[in-house]
Symmetry: C2
Amino acid sequence: MVQPSGASSWNGWGDPARRPGLSEHVREFLDQRFHGLLVPPPPPVALEEVRLAPSALSAEVRQRIAAIATVSEEREARVAHARGKSYRDLVRIRSGDASGAPDSVVSVTRPSQVEELLALCTEERLAVVPFGGGTSVVGGVEPLRGEFAALIALDLTGMDRLVNLDIVSHTATLQPGLRGPQAEALLAARGYTLGHFPQSYELATIGGYAATRSAGQASTGYGRSDELVVGLTVATPSGTLQLGRAPRSAAGPDLRQLMLGSEGAFGVITDVTMAVRPTPPHKRYEGWFFPSFSSGLEALRRLEQHKLAPEVSRLSDEDETVGNLALSGHGGGLSGAYLKARRVKAMAIFGWEGEQELVSARRKLGLKIVRAAGGVSVGTSAGQAWESGRFAAPYLRDDLLDAGVLVETLETAASWAKLPQVRDGVREAVTSALGASSGVLIGCHVSHLYPAGASLYFTVLAPAALRDPLGQWDAAKRAATDAIVASGATITHHHAVGADHMPWLAAEIGELGVDVLRAVKQRLDPAGILNPGKLLP
Amino acid sequence: MVQPSGASSWNGWGDPARRPGLSEHVREFLDQRFHGLLVPPPPPVALEEVRLAPSALSAEVRQRIAAIATVSEEREARVAHARGKSYRDLVRIRSGDASGAPDSVVSVTRPSQVEELLALCTEERLAVVPFGGGTSVVGGVEPLRGEFAALIALDLTGMDRLVNLDIVSHTATLQPGLRGPQAEALLAARGYTLGHFPQSYELATIGGYAATRSAGQASTGYGRSDELVVGLTVATPSGTLQLGRAPRSAAGPDLRQLMLGSEGAFGVITDVTMAVRPTPPHKRYEGWFFPSFSSGLEALRRLEQHKLAPEVSRLSDEDETVGNLALSGHGGGLSGAYLKARRVKAMAIFGWEGEQELVSARRKLGLKIVRAAGGVSVGTSAGQAWESGRFAAPYLRDDLLDAGVLVETLETAASWAKLPQVRDGVREAVTSALGASSGVLIGCHVSHLYPAGASLYFTVLAPAALRDPLGQWDAAKRAATDAIVASGATITHHHAVGADHMPWLAAEIGELGVDVLRAVKQRLDPAGILNPGKLLP
């Protein structure tokens, strides 16, 4: 299988050699759950069989671009930049559908190249899709050319430098193309960490974090990516914005927060200055079980509102706990007599990080709350197992797709008071859309805590519809998002809007709010070349 | 003296009965410091002598407004809404200059009235200055009518309800006209607090907090006002924005952060949902001294970067310490033999708040850092004295003005690495502008900590120039702001832009950034009626 830029399989996640394969007990679990309804789809097509239109770029324009940056029209590059990593994306690309693939993949290493390219593309009316890790699961890198005759993917992974590390202020200025592990390695060499570990960590980039407001698995403790940003530079067709002269300011509206989450539709982020922390000298990851999701939720709320939440604070509901134990092979051990005897059903992972003394003091106080809510420790091995497997799920997904499983995630956030009804609403909507008789499994976990509320993250497993897998999932996603909107929650906590959530943006911020964003877009990108068809309806 | 809306003196701060008067030791200190250069100005004019043009509103328009809300054209109301509370404002109003005073003061109690008024004022082309506590020190409520024939002050203090308290999510929805103490009283009755205590607390309002991104004395622990906001409603001439469906979202740019700090130029905030906390069961305020400002600064930085900073973390430099001790009457006690023997010169206030156990644990770890930096405790009485006098400075200012003292403050924020040079730059600029020979006293303190940086707050005392006090201060302010910009700091950390900082906004966010804000303004307030001449050049 081809590995463009040495980063990710064009039709799956990361390095295919790391796919775990489905073990016997996983197969058994799936069979029991889905009543033998799983039918493996045709195997993914080979790269050569992917349907790909010839590049629409004229030789002249290609030459003008090549005078600025590196242009590739290789099949593998174009296909790898045609899709993100959602279920929709994988189903399509595995079947050989790369329709709309970028006409060229243009790679840059310097901010000045980005500025020159934006000027050229505005002049030539070429659509531009800024492309970092390409891990969007909401159609954020979908090559929608709309009225434009041609479209380029602007690959930023060549902008991969640590520009500056300020060890007094604990900030790092990072280029947008740095992938998670690259950024961490550069910082670790100096004794620092971003502490930002989204599930897409191995592939996702700094620019993508900022453009989509990503949250990481330790964001409860370290802050979301958007909370870590103290400054950023954004190249737009109308000029370059340099924002952030202090951690906080009262100099009018915070334009940083207008650029964060702008998903490449306002400009291309060319550097980001983020808060970093010294590598934590002490880490303690541990597993806990609660009698129920709701008792665990209460514990998490109290921990956060008492400023005692661990850096990593995750709680799976009863169904996700069952699924996780089965899929991870721990079904026999943890889900057996031990848990039953203690009448606990919802698993939590708590990860404490920092200086030993402070961690000890916080943990001691925090565990009083945990125990008062009925929490039962299952020790550090469960925590370590979670930590070591924390980036593995996307690999497993590829194997599940091979086996005929629909597997996708969706997420939201709401106030603590609303969370239970939001969860119920989404579960009912998805179950009803997919059909309860299919054995659909909807796991849910809470993983990002704020004093006023938290996120809910759903994982959906069901037998994939052979004939129309996209229609099947689209119906479920529509129903889920409608339920989210109806219950007063946000349409996305950390996956961004992209093309997939766009129809609900007006429900989120009102038609007037959308108009405000349009006015900003019009000022910064009057020709509308930047990531068309995303964010703004 | 007249007290419009029972809230504040029209020509000074708050309730004039609470002015402390200048004690003998303060007079001695001023005399020594300013070499007998102080010349008391003419006493403030009486309300009846204030120069006030007749209202420019036609009877017909006045009637249309009165059909929606309460209209007052009383002298005391118009004069009280003519100025904020900066040195410029006080000097002018004390001399009887209320030029440009609003033609009418229009008071509302309901959001629907605001919506109707904005429609009417757009139709009639009337400028509107949203007015809460009127405590702006940057010309934020200056009645600049520009091309408009008439201008109204939209008084929001009648919108003073606690709309909702969510005790699960720890959020309160508050109307914009609630003053600090009113909001705290409503919350305290239910066991909660905002924990937001700007120096303007006694007069300032919730809407003003949000419109200007205010920071409070305990914001290091509780968060700035803008960080506490989880949702808000903004009435604009183009419709109403309702923002905030979750504490955090990735649904595109954060429009809340575009409305926070919009200073009444984009719309009128009609409610704000903010994070609240249970009233802290334990408080410990204490005084510490450091050998120097720079050793204290190092301690504060380490405390914050280790997540151990007290809720209130303030550090005065050597000059401010001397001034504070003298003005508070503690000159004899603390500044004497005790401090000299210990070779400490820079005073800090640390205020720990929360549950006893957590406070104890954090304090114990934090004080290791404090002591390692040479910190010496002067006990809780110094802390309590600071706490009980924390809102008194604006009263003292009125007395100092009577005595012929120029007294004004200014503030900024920057990264920790830049703070020392920012402070030096501002001190030099102000000293040079005011003339070193005048004995000018420039005190500086740090009072808002972030992992990446902190604020610097300067208090300037000098003999007022009798002939041109405004020109004297304007020159110093210009020099200070130029120095701030040159050193890479923000033009304001928590005083907003208003009219006074407007010339430097482009230096802060670039011409393109200003253009983006203009595009937003144009979309929301196409007639430009909202707070003209503020924020946007």
